[in-house]
Symmetry: C2
Subunit: 544 residues, 2 copies
């Protein structure tokens, strides 16, 4: 057996900030601070301050392999702290401030966070639960002495005081590339959140793959604004991909409204940005109102949920911005697919191009992907068949922290995303539904999401949800649950009539019912589980 | 200690061809065959045929860890064979046909090649030495039955016959990511060639890093023509980076003249290409003669030796093609640096931009770099100080095959490139000389290359070489050796006068001598060692 004769150079994330500081030390990071003013620094300074904070963390007694929580917006201190935590061999556990209090208590205790860092805006959230967090030894407020608030948090410390007390004369703690460096809980719709544990290796490989020209496509001349928060799975790799390329980073802090984001896009000449559709809805509304344009912006990566076609069209036609529709999951680090064009698509008509871009796209190298039926048989890439979306790769979860959720890979190592999807002949994937929300009618699958998307097109419908309801002949049939638009009183008949001929006859809901409220999760998704409980035993008119 | 919970997914090169076949199966590879006609295939077919040839190699008795030589132009069969060899866990040893016969004998025997694959054009080269290659069990000619030549090669086989006999029902042999997969000898100017052994891991990491937007920048919509041969260190990563991105590949076969390359650039709408300056000189001459333009070409990567400024200017100004000046070495897999712009450089004047691009550029992420003096002290990035260029990274050699050359890393793991270079404040590296060719005058270094470049600017000079000659006071002083231009008889005085005020006074050669011939290596470099022998004991007029 012959071995390669290449250097042992572990894939550790500190090499990313080392590279940025050494070769792009002058490149800026611009932050809208939670205190208000714009703050400017660069990779050389960030690198020095990260090393200082690493010293401070060690002085606080944080050891290798221990966990440090962060509840923070995208900003320079969060970025520094991130590399400092990983640089002492500890694990950076990003906390989503939008989780319910009991979920936060659960995950902070489950992960055994030793120290929690937080922006001052989140003091009330942690004050309300700190008495239930016995393991947290200290709370570090990501601000300076001047802006330190009064707080009842036990053992609260000022970040800038800690940084100023150190000299930065520090070498990163040596780690194995498979050691943990990041932790992010999934906000499952059922049961407790489950922890995804990133390794140095997975973050470096994922960062390299996601930085590719057909994905984020970061160049050192780019100015990149990650609106997507760092507490959403590595800010979709941007927290690694941008410094790898030496790109300028623009951090939006707490203000994600249309006007605030526009201001940064414009004043900092942002060329690449990324966020969920909700953010872009706010931006587009602001642009329409103000008449402002986006002359500097080349590319917007949109993921987190499916991009509405009208949003795609507006960006591309009205603002000449390339939309890259993306799909991922916390368990994928998170990037899975991106809808970058393949050869020949540049020559399609605008409508045909939008047909491509409305799909979630094709997998990046390092992500293996297939769709399967309930028996595990691989389905065709014909754009019609839809099945369980299965993935495999070096930056994809193999298990959850402490074994929660049990075995998550099948015998061949595939991870079931819980989504169902189609794959077309050119390899473009489109999410059809969540597997547990699919309606199984007579052995065939019906997508609840497609029916919902159709129903909300009716002007009298504010929101729609579709669930499967037991049926004596077909096992399950779709029930359409409608929240009427303000002041409207639609009828079952007019809604069904509106839908007719727009979907297959056997996909048509067997009944329509009207409600005053549709329940949502903390992250804004429809709680299908709650609806299924609410309508348990519902008798369909077709079931008699 | 907390470990990451990410999948074990080894970084093996077969995942690259798997990805290309699965997600870009329809993308083409176009080859100008050595037989003449243009051949078209795609990644799906290449993948199938690679698996068939893998079966054939196993049938020939090639085992895991054994070595298979290839002496071939860039073409579809070479590409398939490359992945087939690596896919059975064997090692692909690329042979440079331009090496002298005795060097080929040495490296084929030293590497213990079991089978050698060759294009029919190289039959005479191997026929001449096959009796000195006792370990080679078979020669596979990369052609079909129809084009098989008469040959005296023992046990010669036809590639297409071997492929046709197999069914392709084959799974890649499982390997460890640190196992060897590639082997390429450096054509050292002294001593025997030394073997650089690439691992699966190093090739995957290097391919990802070199594919980045600021480096090769390959997108699936690109059509990429690697003129740089696959026997030059992975065709500068293109053999991995192009299929990772799903880019079309255009393979030039044996014809590298200006007209043939132009034909492919034009007919295949090539957007990215890469080669050494000599190739581009031929292309530019052809373009000038024919008046042809390059409307499809976006980017040309030039490396292997320094890019002459006039070549840079011609591509950028006359043909609107972005030149990316690159530097690398076989030992670096090979990409080290690329002169992609940093922020603000787009706004420089044309001349200032060329000042940037004439440098070899800044390191890609995964390449650490520094310059040091003779005592190992790191030198400033001021664009003036020049020192030993040292590198470190996961795709950089740690040793040579069978320990030849001894220990090649210093105690901190740095590899000495043998080059001396400057680094400017923005991190752009410029090669100044080879360390062994630097003239050490009174403890200060003088670059032989800078003096040579200046001297060849004189119209009566065809070629120039500078070596250090012993001097009683200064240890060494420069001697300028000139090959006069055809029919010219320059004098020492007129050449020195021409150079005056263009370099520091103390860099001026102490003497000029004229010769009828300057000796070169097989790869076209000036043999300084031979010159130093030739002029041993030379008495400088200043030494009296």
């Amino acid at each position: 057996m012959m071995r390669g004769l290449m250097q042992e150079w572990p894939l550790v994330v500190t090499s990313v900030i080392d590279h940025a500081a050494q070769w792009h030390g002058e490149r800026e990071m611009v932050t809208r601070t939670v205190e208000g003013p714009i703050h400017r620094t660069n990779y050389a300074e960030l690198h020095l301050r990260a090393r200082k904070f690493a010293q401070a963390l060690q002085r606080l007694g944080v050891g290798k392999g221990e966990v440090v929580g962060t509840m923070a917006w995208n900003g320079f201190r969060h970025f520094e702290a991130w590399y400092a935590i990983m640089g002492i061999g500890a694990v950076c556990h990003t906390l989503n401030p939008r989780l319910f209090a009991e979920q936060l208590v659960y995950i902070i205790n489950h992960a055994e966070d030793r120290v929690v860092l937080l922006d001052t805006t989140f003091v009330p959230i942690l004050e309300a639960i700190s008495d239930q967090l016995p393991n947290v030894k200290a709370y570090v407020l990501l601000t300076d002495r001047e802006n330190m608030p009064e707080t009842k948090l036990p053992n609260s410390l000022c970040y800038e005081d800690l940084v100023e007390a150190e000299d930065g004369n520090f070498s990163w703690v040596a780690v194995d590339e498979r050691d943990a460096c990041g932790l992010c809980y999934t906000s499952g719709t059922t049961g407790n959140p489950k922890g995804v544990v990133y390794s140095h290796r997975s973050n470096v490989i994922h960062g390299l793959a996601a930085a590719g020209a057909d994905a984020i496509g970061a160049r050192s001349t780019d100015n990149i604004l990650p609106v997507v928060p760092m507490f959403h799975a590595n800010a979709w790799a941007l927290v690694f991909a941008a410094p790898m390329a030496g790109a300028k980073m623009v951090m939006p802090g707490a203000k994600l409204d249309g006007e605030s984001i526009y201001e940064l896009l414009d004043s900092e000449k942002v060329s690449i940005t990324a966020a969920v559709p909700t953010v872009w809805l706010m931006l587009l509304q602001y642009l329409e109102k103000s008449g402002a344009k986006l002359p500097h912006l080349n590319r917007v990566v949109i993921g987190g949920s499916a991009v509405p076609r009208v949003m795609l069209e507006t960006f591309e036609r009205d603002y000449d911005v390339e939309v890259v529709h993306a799909w991922g999951m916390t368990e994928l680090s998170p990037v899975g697919t991106l809808a970058s064009f393949k050869s020949g698509m540049e020559d399609l008509s605008f409508d045909q191009q939008m047909d491509v871009k409305v799909k979630q796209g094709r997998p990046i190298y390092t992500v293996e992907m297939k769709i399967t039926d309930d028996d595990g048989n691989e389905l065709l890439h014909d754009g019609e068949a839809f099945g369980h979306l299965m993935v495999r790769g070096p930056a994809i979860a193999s298990a959850y922290l402490k074994g929660e959720g049990g075995k998550v890979l099948d015998d061949d190592g595939w991870f079931d995303t819980g989504d169902v999807a189609t794959l077309d002949p050119l390899g473009f994937m489109q999410i059809t539904d969540r597997a547990k929300d699919v309606i199984k009618s007579g052995g065939e699958w019906i997508s609840s999401i497609e029916i919902e998307n159709l129903a909300v097109g009716h002007p009298k419908v504010a929101e729609a949800a579709v669930i499967g309801v037991a049926h004596p002949k077909w096992d399950e049939r779709p029930l359409l649950i409608v929240l009427p638009a303000e002041g409207e009183k639609p009828t079952k008949e007019e809604i069904l009539e509106f839908m007719e001929d727009k979907i297959a006859k056997w996909w048509m809901p067997d009944d329509v019912t009207f409600v005053d409220e549709i329940p949502h999760t903390a992250t804004g998704k429809i709680q299908k589980l709650a609806l299924r409980k609410q309508f348990e035993g519902y008798e369909l008119p077709t079931a008699k």
